[in-house]
Amino acid sequence: MAGLQDIRRRIRSVKNTQQVTKAMKMISAVKLRKSQERLVSLRPYADKMKSVAMSVVGRIKGHHLADELVLGPSAQAFLNPREEKRIRVVLIASDKGLCGGFNANVLKKANAFFEGRSKADVVLDVVGKRAADWARKNGFKSNREYLGIPLTGVERVSREVCDGAAEQYQNGEIDAFYVIYNHFFSAVAQEPVVTKVFPLDLDAPANDGKSSVAHLLEPDPNTTLEALLPRFVETEMLRSLLESSASEHGARMAAMDKASNNAGDMIARLTLTMNKIRQASITNQIIEIVSGANA
């Protein structure tokens, strides 16, 4: 009989948990929609920006006068790759857990990326509490921490992070700029990626025939590059932040959906056990009464 009470209590508790996970799932769905909208509206701009930047940089690099141009900090950062000794990395994870493998995956990626590098040679910026915790645990001293960033704050963060990155390159403080984040494919599919923002990898194939056209850069190459490239870095950063945000909510939604289903299964199982016990006890009582009457 004691078992019956316990199981009833257990069912009630699982039901409560299921309600919480269901609510979290719905909240994540709403947040996912918002992040996704923002991301989808940014993507055409970011893609165009990337193809334009690639084509200009590729052009200048192949130009016979390239050596004679006096380049500003951004153009140098994009055009003159050098051996990567010190690197700047922005690691993007989430503030909260309960989102499946979202944080674990991106941090695993970060572990693999940093393996074999001296910690002193990494200038690390972290976004999200989980990333900050990871940095502390692994002995990185993070340069800047961005915690609890709302969706409306991503633009400010991307501006702040990218501010002065090109100058750091020029001063020899860093040799490359990387971002590690979760790329958003769909609500159920995210993948951690490492992207290099600059110097640009020009081996990557240009995605359309247009990029082979030689552009006049007006009013002059330097002014144009110094206006374009910082915007490009900022846009890439903004895109990474939004990809990560959409991925997080997608991952949480999937995790909470699974949790709700599991809770449902558990309730079904417990209810079955409960009914069996109940039935067994009734049967027992009947047998007792019948045998008592017979006696």
Binding site: S41, L42, P44, Y45, A46, K48, M49, V52, V56, E155, K210, V213, A214, H215, L216, L217, E218, P219, T223, T224, A227, L228, R231, T235, L238
Partner: protein, 142 residues
């Protein structure tokens, strides 16, 4: 692609794709060299975008789009505008632009600090561009 309208004009901002269609003529403000007029077969150019009005000709009619900084990339058969902010005439709220203009004028008169002054001047410029754009749906050019 229709032969009479051989230029693909695309205007995108970080927030949305403002415009994308075939047109026959485009004009946009650059940051340094004034307005560029683009006809089919223009030499490829890339330049920072200024503030002002973009116009395009479609079906023989001029249409206006605002532009607030960014980038323009021109090819023989396309113009790509990567604007910081931009809107078509339909999206402009004339009342809001007008009240923004009044507000900016008021601040300009009373401004004490350089930052206030610059901010108000920028706001004034933006509101005037919007009012101009809303003012001529098919009107005169520059």
């Amino acid at each position: 692609m229709s032969l009479s309208e051989p230029i693909l004009l695309e205007v995108v901002t970080p927030h949305k794709r403002v415009f994308s269609a075939q047109v026959s003529e485009v004009s946009f403000p650059s940051a340094a060299n004034g307005y560029y007029g683009i006809l089919p077969g223009h030499t490829p150019v890339m330049t920072p975008l200024g503030q002002g009005l973009i116009y395009y000709v479609q079906g023989g009619e001029k249409h206006w789009i605002t532009a607030f900084g960014g980038f323009a990339e021109v090819g023989s058969d396309h113009v790509t505008i990567l604007a910081r902010d931009s809107e078509t005439v339909d999206e402009i709220d004339l009342n809001r632009a007008e009240s923004a203009r009044q507000r900016a004028l008021k601040i300009l008169k009373e401004a004490q600090t350089e930052t206030d002054l610059n901010g108000a001047q920028a706001a004034l410029d933006r509101s005037i561009i919007r009012i101009q754009a809303a003012g001529h749906p098919g009107g005169h050019g520059f």
